[in-house]
């Protein structure tokens, strides 16, 4: 054991962690700790791993989480929860943090078929829950990060968008009753659970704490650890099991008769947007997404994409003629319902001059695509092109606003593609979904890069800042609202939200036991690295939009 690690946690503190969860479930071995410190996604330097925790502890129950959190607080350490993990967001943001790995809490506690919800522990993943839910005619929302992620984590603590949002909503809105270990080790049971009435409601009695739990993003473990949560489930009219062989591009699934998988194309943006509003108002979709055709090619055939970017006519066809489109899956409980849905889609296509391609007619194609969309298993292939990707998102808003963000994102990306700062995927690569059969949606502009390329690494920070500025100029909340450096700049323009979060944190976490780096901490931003034009835009934003003591600017 290295001297550095010995100094990181005292023997006495370590013994208390052992007492909380058992000696076999705690480690401070450097190799073990480094396996947590290597979190490639959202880590902008392959040589600089995220901060190594001082120890890792694996509780198996709520009581053990309580004991652990209390021991951590007593010893002046901090905790950061890790359920299934997906990148640096689950990692420590400062020194002296114990990683609380929740993988031993992996049970689906209950599936209430009648009331359509499941009670989960943190390490249950989306695929696991979906497989069990489908057996009883139900289904669960799976986030865009993929089926290996924890539905509890996204419902309680972090974002929550996915292709199925059109039917199965956004993670934070699916949260019902929850069991929450606060930073002082006490347990708070939310909603009906707190009144001994079961898990079916996450709010009340009296004022709901959902806003404090979630805010717009989630506290990313900055306000405690969620040990159980009830998640709303939705109707699944398909078979109890979709038999599938192979993985990703080799997948061969048995396609249910009562399912249609369609790609729609529209002549221009206006027709597309109007048609999408109509499609969603008509409640046709089980899955809905808008992704550029070039983006689909870049993830399925990344080598081909590199050649296609050199073409002229093909590029024009992909980014021009066939630019405006969406992909959807429809399911139905009866033949009549499916006929109705197909008829409505055809009528919308007629009204807005569109074309509908039913991929189900080409059996080998839909057999490959089906679970990639229905279970969101396609996600890993996005890393194929350069080895890494990142994203620029605003906040959930009307579809029109999201399309504006996609258009802006394409322009910013093209500029950086031309400069050699990111890989060329033909720029139009938005991950867009619609929510709840309604008129609001989500858009994040995906960009891909090669972490072995110094030019790409050097471009990441300026791109991140540029997207943040573009969002702030449009009065949108950028992804960087969780970044302690940019939060300090953005918060005053957004009602000083950090100050309110710090008050909540101060009230609930008097000993500062939670790692709040991604929740409410602020650090100074180094303006020296920002180019003068961008710096001027930031200064203008601060001057124009900062709140005063009296409230918002005029």
């Amino acid at each position: 054991m290295s001297e550095e690690v010995e100094l990181a946690i005292t023997d006495e503190a370590y013994r208390e962690l052992e007492e909380a969860v058992g000696p076999e479930n705690v480690s401070r071995e450097p190799a073990v700790l480094d396996s947590y410190a290597w979190q490639p996604f959202a880590n902008d330097n392959p040589e600089r791993w995220v901060i190594r925790p001082v120890a890792v502890a694996m509780p198996a129950s709520t009581e053990e989480v309580q004991a652990l959190v209390k021991a951590i607080g007593r010893n002046g350490l901090k905790f950061k929860a890790f359920s299934t993990g997906w990148g640096a967001y689950s990692s420590p943001t400062s020194e002296g943090v114990v990683q609380v790995d929740l993988r031993r809490m992996d049970r689906i506690v209950d599936i209430d078929e009648k009331n359509m919800y499941a009670v989960l522990e943190p390490y249950v993943c989306g695929a696991q829950l979906q497989a069990e839910a489908m057996k009883v005619g139900l289904n669960t929302h799976i986030i865009g990060a993929g089926p290996s992620c924890s539905p509890l984590a996204s419902a309680t603590s972090a974002w929550g968008v996915g292709w199925d949002c059109v039917y199965m909503s956004y993670s934070g809105r699916n949260l019902l009753g929850a069991e929450w270990v606060l930073p002082d080790g006490e347990v708070l049971r939310l909603g009906t659970l707190g009144s001994g009435k079961g898990w079916f409601c996450g709010d009340g009695p009296g004022p709901s704490l959902r806003g404090i739990v979630r805010g717009s993003t989630g506290a990313l473990s900055g306000l405690g650890i969620f040990t159980k949560a009830a998640i709303k489930l939705y109707n699944w009219p398909g078979p109890p099991q979709i038999k599938t062989e192979g993985l990703l591009l080799d997948a061969r699934s048995e396609v249910p008769e009562n399912l249609r998988f369609c790609m729609c194309f529209w002549p221009d943006r206006k027709s597309q947007d109007e048609a999408i509003y109509k499609i969603n108002e008509s409640e046709l979709c089980y899955i809905f997404s808008r992704t550029g055709l070039g983006a689909t090619i870049s993830i399925a055939t990344p080598h081909l994409m590199k050649i296609l970017t050199k073409t002229k006519a093909i590029r024009k066809a992909l980014t021009g003629d066939m630019k405006w489109g969406c992909t959807l899956i429809m399911v139905a409980d009866s033949e009549g319902e499916m006929a109705y849905k197909e008829g409505v889609l055809a009528e919308i296509a007629r009204q807005y001059g569109g074309a509908v391609i039913d991929l189900g007619k080409a059996k080998p194609i839909i057999r490959m695509f089906l679970m990639n969309f229905l279970r969101s298993t396609a996600v890993p292939v996005v890393f194929r092109m350069g080895g890494q990707m990142f994203t620029a998102l605003d906040r959930n808003d009307t579809w029109d606003t999201q399309m504006d963000w996609a258009t802006m994102g394409e322009k910013v990306k093209q500029k950086w593609i031309d400069r050699g700062g990111i890989l060329d995927d033909m720029a139009d690569n938005p991950y867009m979904v619609a929510y709840e059969d309604n008129t609001w949606g989500h858009c994040e502009e995906i960009f891909q890069y090669d972490p072995r390329n110094p030019d790409h690494l050097a471009a990441l920070e300026p791109i991140f800042i540029e997207f943040s500025v573009e969002a702030a100029e449009r009065c949108m909340e950028p992804l960087s609202s969780t970044d302690a450096r940019l939060r300090k700049i953005i918060s005053p323009m957004m009602g000083n939200y950090t100050r309110w979060q710090q008050k909540i944190s101060g009230f609930m976490d008097k000993d500062k036991a939670a790692d709040t780096g991604m929740y409410c901490d602020e650090v100074d931003f180094d303006f020296d690295k920002v180019d003068p034009e961008m710096r001027k835009r930031i200064e203008t934003l601060i001057e124009k939009f900062s709140w005063t003591g009296e409230g918002p600017p005029e």
Partner: protein, 111 residues
């Protein structure tokens, strides 16, 4: 409120209106099944074959597309698509089309 899109979109839209897309997708599925059967490839192998296309081949296709403007505009004709749709209703046309395309793709895959 329908407006006019780019030439390739117009071909797609016309093909959709006349039913050629639905019929064509079914035939395309038969072609892919046939290629998989004859070559022993899985769908993922075929995707990887496409991914391995040479720059020369892709550029040739790009040039072909660039020179195909008049043909594409002609193909966007609803009359022509209606005729194509009727032809695709004829079993022997479908069989010959699938066989020809399968042969061509098998040759490309095994080259």
């Amino acid at each position: 409120m329908a407006t006019k899109g780019g030439p390739l979109f117009e071909v797609t839209a016309s093909a959709y209106r006349s039913g050629v897309i639905d019929k064509g997708m079914a035939l395309f599925g038969d072609v892919v099944d046939g290629v998989m059967k004859e070559t022993g490839c899985e769908i993922g192998d075929l995707v990887n074959k496409i991914d391995e296309a040479s720059e020369k081949t892709v550029m040739r296709m790009d040039a072909l597309l660039a020179w195909s403007g008049p043909a594409i505009r002609l193909a966007a004709s609803d009359h022509l698509m209606a005729l194509t749709s009727r032809l695709l209703d004829v079993a022997i046309v479908r069989r010959l089309g699938v066989a020809a395309l399968t042969r061509m793709l098998v040759k490309a895959v095994t080259a």
